[in-house]
């Protein structure tokens, strides 16, 4: 790095010098663990490439090495990873929306109107949350189809397939509970139609329906109930299952083999 320095003679040299100084500082070095390409003294060696994965909590989801065919984009299309990424996008945009939303009638509807008109980037973030949710249903479903067509559910991955099916159902539930929250005509009647189907369940159909919507029909109480399900309960459950899902991908031998 020192050979690039210009001893402060030019502006560019001064900037490079400062940047080098920062990169060599103790603070910078303490943030990026050994092997990180962010470090000043990093060299591109197999050992350091391994450290990038082993020493970083974000990359810790991955093994140090994967089979070469596994990194081909056409093999997985990144669908599982994109589902997870969309979950993160939805979490971030969802937290933003929570700042401006109260799950009561009629305030919920007014909050959405305000979000669309008064809040900076409110409409954009709400759009991202809504379309992102639809997209996540789609990517999770396509991920399942991809896994099926690759036969990637075969031993020893049977159980992870079941976890995946549970995650698909949870994704649908997440989306469905969020559907009610705008508290407009679309939300109210779509959820009415959806929950009416549940009430046809034999023997305990009425009880399920009662517990789900907090009464014999959808009321403002349902709004609070579904809000809690949507922002707390289901994310908590889905995170647990995701942890198991990712862990089992690693434990069951990584990504499945080529066709």
């Amino acid at each position: 790095m020192t050979d690039k320095k210009d001893n402060g003679k030019s502006v560019g040299g001064a900037v490079t010098g400062v940047l080098d100084h920062i990169r060599e500082s103790q603070v910078w070095t303490s943030v990026f663990r050994p092997g990180s390409p962010m470090r000043a003294d990093n060299q591109d060696t197999p050992r350091n490439r391994s450290y990038v994965v082993m020493n970083n909590v974000l990359y810790h989801l991955h093994p140090v090495k994967v089979k070469r065919h596994g990194v081909r984009l056409s093999y997985t299309l990144c669908l599982g990873g994109l589902s997870f990424f969309l979950f993160i996008v939805l979490t971030i945009t969802g937290i933003f929306l929570m700042f401006y939303y109260s799950p009561t009638s009629p305030q919920a509807y007014y909050d959405l109107q305000a979000l669309n008109t008064d809040v900076a980037f409110g409409q954009l973030v709400r759009n991202m949350h809504r379309w992102g949710a639809h997209l996540m249903v789609l990517t999770v479903f396509l991920h399942m189809a991809r896994v099926f067509y690759h036969g990637a559910y075969k031993p020893p991955r049977e159980f992870n397939w079941i976890v995946g099916v549970i995650l698909l159902l949870l994704t649908l539930l997440m989306s469905f509970t969020g559907y009610l929250l705008p508290w407009d005509q679309l939300a109210l009647w779509a959820v009415t139609v959806g929950t009416t189907m549940g009430s046809y369940a034999p023997v305990f159909g009425d009880q399920v329906s009662f517990a789900l919507i907090g009464g014999v029909q959808i009321t403002p109480d349902t709004l609070l109930r579904w809000y809690v399900l949507h922002v707390l309960f289901l994310p908590f459950i889905i995170t647990l299952f995701m942890a198991v899902h990712f862990w089992r991908v690693r434990k069951d031998g990584g990504i499945s083999g080529p066709l």
């Binding site: 390409p37 197999p46 490439r49 391994s50 990038v52 994965v53 990359y59 991955h62 140090v64 090495k65 994967v66 089979k67 070469r68 990194v71 990144c78 990873g81 994109l82 990424f85 969309l86 996008v89 009638s105 009629p106 959405l112 409409q123 954009l124 709400r126 759009n127 949350h129 809504r130 379309w131 997209l135 189809a145 099926f148 067509y149 036969g151 990637a152 075969k154 031993p155 049977e158 397939w161 079941i162 549970i166 469905f176 559907y179 508290w183 407009d184 005509q185 679309l186 009647w189 779509a190 009415t192 139609v193 959806g194 189907m197 046809y200 034999p202 029909q217 959808i218 499945s256 066709l259």
Partner: protein
């Protein structure tokens, strides 16, 4: 070496070429050249020593070993003394230093491997060292001459040819293989390119000059790497950083860009305030439930709303326990793919039907005649 696929061989050749700054072709030829050479490889003076026993020239492998052992000077094995003299020409210590320097290894390791080699294959430590020195291209003439370091008695197994019983170090057939294996481990640590000769004692009866005595014959030559090779076939693997993470990052950016662009140009729907007394016509569930709602038009609610989705979810979940076919090749699992594709297509068709072909009263409609009744995309349709 034999089971390594070509592509992996090529990749490691490329890696070595990159590291040593030599052309790939040269390295590849070198690596490939190693494999066939294993049967006539320079397995040390010891091999030639054993070769000279009993019947002598009966075993071709032994003869070829003697060729190498004699460094081309002694084409026929029983030429006593030729090796011994050259071995004693330089001092063992100087030889050790030279070999260690040439191989860039600590002297202690070289000495240990040489001892293991001499114990396994016969021959003195100095013979082995001399052999290695030749392999490494060390100019022996520059080394200081030996004063009295010629280990006379055991340094010349090659000399006892001509029908005499071999003085193999470990004549017991039980102990030979383990010794060879442990020697292989010892040498493998330090000398990756070395071979180990495994021999078996066989009673050669009626062989000329054999006297019914125990004799050694060459069973196999084991490449050092093969002894500790892992059983599973080598797979072509790449580091996650940067190969996988770069792809994932790009995929992430593409999707994020798509999502933001979509969100800029397409607003999420917000209809009128929720009114319990005014049901819109038609009222549709979220799009991912519209396949089920479509089924409601054909079946009893108990069947369409409960039985089909419940059994559908269970059926999907237990696929791995029904499908016992171990193959993942599409051509081997046509039935499974057919069934799955049928249900996926059915679900897709039902969902599209429910979304775009159902109008007021959930009656059938053509979207190009009466318009689309799909409020999720209301802002797009208006």
């Amino acid at each position: 070496m034999a089971q390594i696929p070509d592509n992996i061989l090529k990749r490691s050749a490329e890696a070595r070429a990159k590291k040593e700054g030599r052309p790939v072709d040269e390295i590849l030829a070198e690596m490939k050249g190693e494999a066939p050479s294993s049967d006539s490889s320079p397995s040390g003076g010891g091999g030639s020593g054993e070769a000279a026993d009993g019947g002598g020239q009966t075993s071709t492998a032994s003869v070829s070993g003697a060729d190498v052992g004699g460094g081309g000077q002694a084409p026929t094995a029983p030429e006593p003394g030729s090796k011994t003299t050259s071995a004693s020409a330089v001092s063992g210590a100087a030889l050790l230093t030279a070999v260690a320097a040439a191989r860039k290894m600590p002297e202690s390791l070289v000495e240990r491997s040489a001892k293991a080699r001499s114990r396994t294959a016969g021959g003195s430590v100095d013979d082995v060292l001399l052999e290695w020195a030749k392999e490494e291209g060390v100019d022996i003439s520059t080394l200081p001459a030996a004063s009295d370091s010629s280990p006379a008695p055991d340094s010349s197994p090659a000399a006892d040819g001509g029908g005499q019983t071999s003085t193999a170090p470990e004549p017991s057939s039980d102990s030979v293989a383990p010794v060879a294996a442990s020697a292989a481990t010892a040498t493998a640590v330090a000398v990756l390119d070395d071979d180990v000769v495994i021999e078996d004692d066989a009673v050669v009866e009626g062989e000329p000059g054999g006297n019914g005595a125990t004799s050694d014959r060459l069973l196999t030559v084991i490449r050092a790497g093969e002894v500790q090779r892992i059983r599973s076939a080598p797979t072509d693997r790449v580091t996650v950083w940067p190969h996988l993470l770069a792809i994932e990052f790009v995929a992430l950016l593409v999707v994020l860009t798509l999502l933001i662009t979509l969100s800029i140009f397409l607003d999420a729907p917000l209809l009128e305030f929720a009114n319990f007394n005014e049901q819109p016509n038609p009222s549709k569930a979220p799009w991912y439930f519209l396949g089920l709602q479509e089924l409601l038009a054909y079946f009893d609610p108990q069947i369409a709303g409960i039985i089909i989705p419940t059994f559908g979810a269970i059926a999907i979940a237990i696929i791995p326990y029904i499908d016992k076919n171990p193959s993942v090749k599409p051509s081997h699992r046509k039935l499974a793919i057919m069934i799955f594709t049928f249900f996926i297509m059915a679900a897709a068709v039902l969902t599209i039907f429910g979304s775009f072909f159902r109008g007021p009263g959930f009656n059938f409609t053509f979207p190009w005649e009466d318009g689309i009744f799909f409020d999720d995309l209301k802002s797009l349709l208006e």
